[in-house]
């Protein structure tokens, strides 16, 4: 192998990225639903270290903005209103990892609001919304991929291990699902489910729909691996000694399929996150006020938002590091699985 540490490095990088999203409450300065109607579409706050007089400060600060009396129009920074940024400060209540009540934030301000990535139409902080939105989008992707792999592994194993009419039936069904353009199928499934539901129901619906559409490809891959694994000599020997189907599957057949499943997971998760984004962007996914990466982009469909507020694009960039991570992980997993493949080939297997 070229680089034995590659797999580990990608795993660590992805772990860190997911940890940031999982602890969104700590990294986000505000509650994602907290509105400030007096500050709609505020551009990202400029953080300074050097003040108007050229003096250097160790603690970063920003200036409040000059606002015209009769409108929300911003005329620039008000150098008289400097606000210091405080680190590890107490702010809005949240639940760390969903259950630990907590008030500690990475940063915050005593007075005045800081919008590191700007604010949206209701003056909600974009950074906080992107971080919290990631929880929804990534969870939908992870759960969806888990469901797909579970379905794929079950169906693929059944078809490959038991063969016969079960194999024929399941593989015809898989062909059917592969033949349907998956985004259209996704939309069709969504179309036949209720539209106006609570955010939690919508999230579960979207996850299940995304998870059930894509089972065919992993099922076919798993079937191939199982087919070759069950004919291996040691499996035959174990069967000869009277091992039950359950034991053989658990002990010899499924472990052979694990590397295929892991690689599929690394490929599917970002795809499914993207699917959630697409559904929510089009208004068929998780609804407001709960943020998700998709519905954060939804107001870009308004012409005025599209051309005026560039920071509203930023949620689309949030997925990029995750994409990169999973792409690298998939590559590393394939590389990691290759020596085994070589070995299997030299032993006469077709895996």
């Amino acid at each position: 192998m070229k680089n034995p540490h590659r797999l580990g490095r990608w795993l660590v990088a992805l772990g860190l990225l997911h940890a940031i999203i999982a602890c969104a409450g700590f990294f986000a300065p505000y509650d994602p639903r907290e509105q400030d109607r007096e500050n709609p579409y505020v551009p990202p706050t400029r953080v300074h270290l050097v003040d108007a007089h050229g003096r250097f400060h160790f603690r970063p600060f920003f200036y409040g903005s000059l606002i015209r009396e009769d409108s929300f129009e911003r005329l620039g920074e008000d150098s008289a209103k400097a606000v210091q940024i405080q680190f590890f400060t107490h702010g809005a209540r949240y639940h760390l990892l969903g259950f630990l009540p907590c008030r500690l934030h990475l940063f915050g301000t005593g007075s005045g609001r800081i919008y590191v990535l700007g604010s949206d139409a209701y003056g909600r902080d974009q950074l906080s919304r992107i971080l919290y939105g990631g929880q929804i989008s990534l969870l939908a992707g992870l759960l969806g991929a888990g469901l797909t792999l579970l379905l794929g592994a079950t169906i693929g194993t059944t078809a490959g291990y038991f063969g016969g009419w079960r194999d024929a039936l399941l593989m015809r069904l898989a062909e059917l699902f592969v033949a349907l353009p998956w985004l259209y199928l996704l939309f069709a499934l969504r179309a036949f489910l209720p539209l106006a539901v609570s955010p939690l129901e919508a999230f579960l619906l979207v996850t299940v729909v995304i998870g059930t559409v894509g089972w065919a490809r992993p099922a076919r891959l798993v079937r191939g691996v199982v087919l070759s694994a069950k004919e291996r000599d040691f499996v035959r020997a174990a069967r000869g000694f009277g091992a039950s189907n359950g034991y053989l599957l658990r002990r010899h057949v499924l472990p052979a399929a694990s590397s295929v499943l892991l690689t599929q997971a690394a490929i599917l998760i970002p795809q499914f996150v993207l699917a959630e984004m697409t559904l929510s962007f089009l208004g068929l996914g998780v609804p407001e006020p709960v943020p998700s990466w998709g519905n954060l982009l939804a107001n870009l469909q308004e012409y005025s938002v599209l051309i005026s507020y560039w920071w509203m694009y930023l949620p689309a960039l949030a997925i990029v590091p995750f994409f990169l991570g999973y792409l690298g992980l998939a590559g590393a997993l394939q590389e990691h699985a290759n020596p085994y493949k070589m070995e299997a080939a030299s032993l006469g297997g077709t895996g």
Binding site: P181, Y184, L185, R190, L274, L284, Q301, F323
Partner: protein, 324 residues
């Protein structure tokens, strides 16, 4: 010929299965188009029941399916509640527009991906390959949505391209050449978005397929015979690598169809995508079913063409088909 026939039968069975499947899904749907009417106090419950009866929504599923197949034979594909017209004519126009978009994008994407992928494989490990790998990787991680939005804002800011639709107002008055130019201008942005989003994957596959055959003994022998490099790559290597690439061609049509859904909605291209979205939001049952089936037809058609090309390009498949 028998091979073609068998493939067509297979495609027909697939389409039949897909139609049954979508019908089954639609039967799971809680509620339908007329449910919205119940909220309207001006429409009496009796009217709604009679409307349901008029459109046969109160019949059992198999009956509805047979009726739908019957209307399919007449080119109607059921009835759109929202448009108050048969679905067929509605879909044909949209499907044509989607086809124009995806076929153009497919052709352009492959015309770019083939030479770039071959170049990348031929220079594996050296700078053209590295630059291309980086470029494909960075385009791969950009979401299609962002790409489409960025192109749209480019159009708005620069004013070089129209920002939506298929033709400009006053299209009818243009001369033939002017009409062609107008459509090309409208096509440019959505096609660019689709090509850019599908290119990285295509280039990577071409590179992998060519790279696999480049080390083959027959190519080394050909190289030893002094056959020029370009001829070696485009005649010998490409031919040998054709098999996976042609299969990929079939699949790329499907991927582009899914990709075009979003691009069509964002860039308001009057294709199947926006129609489907409208129909989904309005619970316009038969339009959704029709849209899914038409897109399946395209995908199956793409794979059918790919199969035919494989038959033509790969002698192994010809002999296999002949012996069966």
């Amino acid at each position: 010929m028998r091979y073609t026939f068998r493939r067509m039968i297979q495609a027909a069975i697939l389409l039949f299965g897909a139609s049954v499947l979508t019908f089954l899904f639609s039967a799971l749907a809680p509620g339908n188009y007329f449910d919205e009417m119940r909220l309207n106090p001006q429409i009496s419950p009796e009217t709604i029941i009679s409307l349901r009866g008029q459109y046969h929504l109160d019949r059992p599923l198999p009956v509805r399916y047979v009726q739908w197949v019957n209307s399919l034979i007449h080119g109607e594909m059921g009835f759109s509640f929202a448009y108050n017209s048969p679905v067929g004519p509605l879909l044909w126009v949209r499907a044509r527009n989607t086809l124009i978009l995806t076929l153009t994008a497919t052709l352009i994407a492959w015309a770019i991906a083939l030479p770039l992928g071959i170049w990348s494989a031929a220079t594996a490990g050296r700078w053209p390959d590295r630059v291309l790998s980086w470029a494909t990787a960075s385009f791969l991680v950009l979401p299609d949505l962002l790409l489409a939005l960025c192109l749209l804002i480019l159009a708005v800011r620069s004013g070089w391209f129209p920002t939506g639709g298929l033709v400009s107002t006053g299209f009818e008055t243009l001369l033939p050449f002017g009409k062609f130019r107008d459509i090309v201008m409208h096509l440019t942005l959505p096609v660019t978005a689709l090509v850019l989003s599908s290119l990285p994957i295509l280039i990577r596959h071409v590179r992998a397929a060519i790279g696999e055959v480049l080390g083959a003994p027959f190519l080394r022998a050909a190289e030893g015979h002094g056959i020029p490099r370009r001829r070696l790559l485009y005649r010998y290597a490409l031919r040998a690598a054709a098999n996976p690439l042609i299969s990929l061609f079939g699949f790329s049509i499907g991927a582009l169809l899914s990709g075009s859904f979003l691009v069509e909605v964002v860039m308001s291209w009057p294709g199947l995508g926006p129609l489907m979205l409208e129909a989904i939001l309005a619970r316009d049952l038969y339009v959704v079913i029709g849209g899914v089936l038409l897109s399946t037809l395209f995908l199956v058609g793409g794979n059918f063409i790919a199969d035919m090309m494989l038959y033509w390009a790969d002698p192994r498949i010809r002999t296999e088909a002949a012996t069966q």
